[in-house]
């Protein structure tokens, strides 16, 4: 896996440079919003990567509870951390884009609010892991919490949708009027691929780190036993 991750890293480097080219040079400037619309190519892919990350957390948490394989638990943990990073990117780029276009930093619309709640849920997940230590109990608690939190997300979304809405409909597969210039669509899809690749790169790197940490712990234990 280590060599694999390395190759993925190089691929990602090339992809990111190309991505910048497609975003800033290839894709045309948006007519009404102007250059600020470029943030779209970072905002939307980050959101997708975040959702993928949290989906992985839920699936591997359930798998852990059923199979009790600690590898699954480490995947959930790593994926939750990465998901928080991507959600933070979404929550930071969103207001920067919203200020010039909606003339407000923040609105309590379903997608914004749900993303914020999502962020709180998974920050809670990380705090819980911090406060339980590394035994199997901590892994169990975190898995249960992740499953409950994941089921909660659609309900949060629908309850807030009842409440108010201003965020635009999804431009992909949206209504008839929604749609993107083909070059913009290409830039978006390319950026999406790069961000998903980035997610997997981070996930593998984080797993490798976790494995190394555990090996060191084992070594420390062995040394402590020898010294006694």
């Amino acid at each position: 896996m280590e060599r694999w991750t390395k190759w993925l890293g190089w691929l990602l480097l090339v992809g990111m440079i190309l991505n910048l080219y497609f975003i800033f040079i290839y894709a045309p400037i948006e007519k009404t919003m102007g250059a600020v619309q470029k943030i779209f190519y970072f905002h939307v892919p980050s959101a997708f990567a975040a959702f993928l990350a949290f989906f992985v957390v839920a699936v591997y948490s359930a798998l852990f509870l059923l199979k009790r394989n600690y590898f699954y638990d480490r995947i959930s943990y790593a994926s939750a951390e990465i998901g928080i990073i991507f959600t933070t990117i979404v929550l930071v780029t969103g207001p920067i884009w919203a200020k010039p276009t909606w003339n407000t930093w923040w609105s309590w619309d379903p997608r914004l609010t749900t993303t914020l709640i999502l962020w709180f849920i998974y920050v809670g997940y990380l705090v819980l892991r911090d406060f339980t230590g590394e035994d199997e109990r901590g892994a169990r608690f975190a898995a249960v919490f992740a499953i409950v939190g994941f089921v909660d997300v659609p309900i949060v979304y629908f309850s807030i949708r009842w409440w108010r809405t201003i965020h635009p409909e999804p431009v992909l597969m949206g209504g008839e009027d929604s749609g993107l210039h083909p070059q913009m669509l290409f830039a978006l899809l390319f950026s999406l691929a790069v961000f998903l690749l980035f997610y997997f790169y981070l996930l593998f790197t984080r797993l490798r780190l976790e494995k190394a940490r555990m090996e060191i712990n084992e070594m420390k234990k062995a040394i402590a036993l020898q010294e006694r």
Binding site: L65, L128, F145, D152
Partner: protein, 225 residues
């Protein structure tokens, strides 16, 4: 003993413990009163904002005092070693969960019913026409809150931070409950169309059904020891 009998035996144990110690409900109630009183300071007397903010304030009082009760719910079990006894008894883990949940629902509902009159008096509200729908909303929201809260309380009590852990876990997850309860209560106060209020009641109902089922199913993973 039947399954239902076991559930009620556990709920009864909690009620009896509370009846003899009177620790939890007293603190919850005083706290709830305090929230209502303190929030009154934020408005000028007779201000129309008070009416707009009333549903939010009442639910802050209910959820925060509920949090106190939920925190206690497993702390005294652990501190006095009662929880191991519970786990050793020939009772299904799901029944333990439901029993504890029913106990928590009863505590919370009692506090809410006692706070409500004070709230109506201090905020000068006109609730008499729709007292029954209001009680329904309170009851449904309490079920949802206690369903998730009981599960998370069992988790939080086993962590290093205990009391601090529960709100961090619980509040983001019960956002739909709080949002629906606040808006449904507000709808009643403004005497909105009943259909609009009912939309919120439906969300509360859906939340209750889904989360009682999920928490019931996952509780056994929390307490396996």
């Amino acid at each position: 003993m039947s399954y239902l009998g076991k559930i009620f035996a556990i709920a009864y144990k909690d009620l009896l413990h509370e009846y003899r110690s009177r620790e939890t409900i007293t603190t919850m109630m005083i706290f709830s009163f305090l929230v209502v009183v303190i929030f009154n300071f934020t408005f000028d007397p007779g201000s129309s904002y008070a009416l707009e903010a009333a549903p939010g304030i009442i639910w802050v009082a209910f959820t925060f005092s509920g949090m106190l009760g939920l925190n206690r719910s497993f702390i005294y079990e652990i501190d006095k070693g009662c929880f191991h006894g519970l786990l050793l008894s020939p009772i299904d883990r799901g029944a333990i969960y439901l029993g504890k949940m029913i106990g928590n629902i009863i505590f919370m509902t009692l506090v809410e019913l006692l706070t409500l009159p004070l709230f109506i008096i201090l905020f000068n509200l006109q609730f008499s026409d729709f007292l029954l729908p209001l009680l329904l909303i309170i009851f449904l929201a309490t079920i949802g809150f206690a369903a998730v809260g009981t599960l998370f309380s069992a988790i939080a009590v086993n962590t290093k931070a205990r009391e601090i852990m529960l709100p961090i876990l619980l509040f983001p997850v019960v956002v739909p409950v709080i949002l629906s309860a606040v808006n449904a209560t507000g709808g009643l106060l403004r005497s909105d169309d009943w259909n609009q209020v009912f939309a919120w009641v439906r969300i509360l109902l859906a939340f209750d059904v889904i989360f009682v089922a999920i928490c019931y199913a996952t509780f056994e993973y929390v307490v396996e020891e």
